[in-house]
Every structure is written in C-alpha cells, then in structure tokens.
Subunit: 229 residues, 2 copies
DNA sequence: ATTATCTATAGATCTATAGATAATGC
DNA sequence: ATTATCTATAGATCTATAGATAATGC
C-alpha cells in the first residue's frame, strides 16, 4: 500500500525527470486548451490533471501564456517540417508540371497521416490548433509557425495555375484551411447532423475526400466571377 | 456641462429604456465574446463597454452563460428564417431540378448579403458564431438554432445529387461550413499571408467565389474515393 | 550542491447577492 | 407602485512569488 505507486519510480536521472514532467504538463495543457481555450483553463486545472502542485507550472514556465505558446511550439516544427519535405519531394517528382490536386494531396494527406498514425495526443494538438487559429492570441503563433509551409503550398499552386489571379489562389487556400480547421476541431456537429453517418474523429474519411474536393473547387474559380474583390 | 449627456435623454418610457439598455448590453457582449470567447470576457468588461454597473447585467440576465446564450439567440432566428425562406423560394423555382451550385448560392449568398447590408453589428455576430462553433458550450447552441436550415440545405443537395452517398454530402457540408466559419472569424490571417491582396473583411469577395468553389468540390466527390469511411 | 517539488500566502479579479436610491407609471 | 440602476460586500478563484523540503549529482 505505502509503495503503491513505486512501480514506475525506478530512479530517474534529473534530466529524465524534468523531460517527463514537462511532457506530462504539456500533454495536459494541450488537452485542456484544445477543449476550453486559453481563458477556459486554469493553471490549477492543468496541475490537477498532471497530479502535481500548481506552482510547479511556474517553475517550468514563466506564466500561463508561455505554457500556451510552448504547447503550440512543441509539435509545430514536426508537422511543418514533414509537410515541407513532402512538398519538396513532390516538386522534384512533378518537375515542371505540378497539379493542384497533387499539391493538395501532399499538403493535406501528409498531415492527416501524422494524426492518424500517432493517435490521440496528436489529434489533441490538431484540435488545439483549430482553436488557436480562431483566437486573437493565436494569430501571431499561426503566422510564426505555419507561414512557411503555407506559402510553399501557395507557390506550388501558383505554378499549377499560372493564369489564375493570385487572389483566387489565396481565397482558395482560405477555404481549404477553414475546412481543415473544422476537421481538426472535432466538434461532433457533423456526427449529430448526419445521424451518426459521419464521425468527427474519422480523419481517414476526410483525407479520402478533401484534396479532390478542394482541387475541384480551386479549378472552378478559373474564368470570370464578378469584379468584386 | 452638467447637462452634457442630456441630448438623448428626451424622457423615455420604461419599455423603451429597457429595450435600449438590453440592446446595448447584447451589442457589447457580442463584440467582446466574438473576440475573446465566453471565458475571455468578464461581466465587468461588458458593463464597462456599455458604461453601466456590472450588477445591472445580473438584473437583466441570470448569469454569464445566459447572457452568452441570449447573444446567440438574438440574431439566430433572423439569419435562419431568411435562409429558410430563400431556400423555399429556390425550391419552388427550381422545381424538380435543383442544382448544387444553385442551392449553395441561396444558402451562402443570402447570409453574406445580410452581413454586407447591415454592417458591423452583424459582422460581429458572424464572428461570434464562428467562435461559438468551435467551442464545447457552443455545440448545443449551433444544433438548436441552425440544424433546421442546414438540414434544409442538405435535403436540396440530396435531390440535386440523387446518386451520391449521403456521407459524401455531409462531408461536403462539413467543408462548406468550415470555410464559412473561417470567413466569419475574420482573423486577418489571409490578409497577412497574401500581403494585403485579400482582406478578411471582404465578404463580397468571398461571396463571389464560395458557392462556385464548393459546388465544384461536391460534384468532384462523385465516383470512387477509396473505401475509407 | 543543484534541481525538482511543495507549503504558505499576497494581491487581484470575478461572479453573484442583498439592499439602497433614483427614475417612470398611474 | 413599480422598475431601472447603483452601492456595498461576500465568497470563491486565480495567478504569481517567496521560501521550505526532498530528491539527485559529484
């Protein structure tokens, strides 16, 4: 009884202990922030979820916002780098003739695979990003971490659509990212609307449809569409 | 000086006063909630913006969540009814042959026109909805107020796409609403990404592109797309 | 000797309620 | 006489800091 929780306490080095605690804190914060946003989560909530005292969060992070930013930053580089590399490979393969659908498949599917393969923690990160993207405190973070990968996609799309006005390509991306964030958010609304036919958690189903859908949408913007904008 | 603010105080009836104060409170709350979400706004913030004492909010509303729900409900019926009627008219006109693009034009453009015509307060409501749609406390509100109008759209789309599996239509709607909410949110991200070429506030530009884009996307889902989902 | 974690607590807010005051209503 | 608004305040949190204790490091 008095040794109930010693199973794991096989004596860790300080570096290990630090890394482990940090990861637990970030996981808990990621989960809670993804559900309730920056202001909907207290440091106490996070600490309780980890099973640690609130003040420990101040030992590892300056303040609440720093924790929030650290959650964002932890996985941002992984997803960004993966997509950057995948798009570079695609560009090499496609040579002078990249296609809209090809570019979107690489951009979207590479990311979906990440979440599908690695499961809940990464799905939570996706949900976290969806919330952040909607938020004043998140705007700068999105710009900072994801501008390069987005602009890379845009540059391939431009080559695939040389005659299309740039605005149209940007608006197309605006639709793509909106749909993507709505997927990441996993609100459950599509489950209820469809009577269970579709499930918010079913990223494979979205992956199977999204690139084709968005490519067709972008291509449809060719030709006139009023003079507005 | 001592009568500085009497210009408007032309003696109002209590009902008028009540209505006016209520509207000011809802406007202020709508604006603030749209920016910072339920938890990112205090009753004090709202009261200060109106220029009234915090406790007055408790006189008009049970608690903070009631105020939040009242903000949602105030304009929900207007946008829902407008779209319902527009879709009914479209169905009457189109008879046996509604089109995907026609249905989406009615659903989307009718709403965009509302925000474009009536300006900032309604644009704030749209931003408020975008935030709510992403939020646990908002899920039930979205269902309650917007299920009928969405299911109406879905039913027209089904008639326009009789051979398409229902899931595909629901996933198509999922993309549409994601893009729509991203527009409503007006985060400014597309402005920065595009170097000012596109503007988050430019609903006419989105209106000019969105229905065509989404219709093409939906139509592209016809035919095989793997067996996933 | 250093680092990780906890105890104690200050100071600021926040929501909400009770009850007083100042308007309009008849 | 009723309704709208404000004053005063309770009680609960919340963030953050200072300083104590309990581990690991050499």
């Amino acid at each position: 009884m008095s040794e109930g929780s010693t199973a794991k306490r096989v004596r860790r080095t300080k570096a290990e202990q630090r890394a482990e605690t940090l990861e637990q804190i970030l996981d808990a914060a990621e989960y809670l922030f993804s559900k309730n946003g920056l202001h909907g989560v207290t440091l106490r909530d996070v600490a309780q979820r980890v099973g640690v005292h609130t003040t420990l969060l101040h030992y590892y992070f300056d303040d609440k916002l720093s924790l929030f930013e650290a959650v964002f930053a932890r996985r941002a580089k992984v997803t960004s780098d993966r997509r950057m590399e995948a798009m570079a490979r695609y560009e090499a393969e496609a040579g002078d003739e990249p296609t809209v659908e090809g570019a979107l498949h690489v951009f979207l599917d590479t990311d979906f695979d990440l979440y599908i393969e690695r499961g809940e923690p990464w799905m939570n990160y996706a949900a976290f990003c969806a919330r952040v993207s909607n938020t004043p405190e998140g705007a700068a973070l999105m710009d900072e971490h994801f501008d390069p990968v987005v602009l890379k996609l845009i540059s391939i799309l431009k080559r695939a659509l040389p005659e299309m006005p740039e605005e149209d390509i940007f608006w197309g991306y605006h639709f793509v990212t909106g749909a993507l964030m709505n997927t990441f958010a996993r609100t459950g609304r599509i489950d209820r609307l469809s009577g269970g036919l579709c499930k918010s958690d079913d990223f494979p189903a979205v992956k199977a449809r999204m690139a084709k859908f968005m490519a067709a949408g972008l291509l449809a913007l060719r030709g006139e569409h009023g003079s507005t904008g």
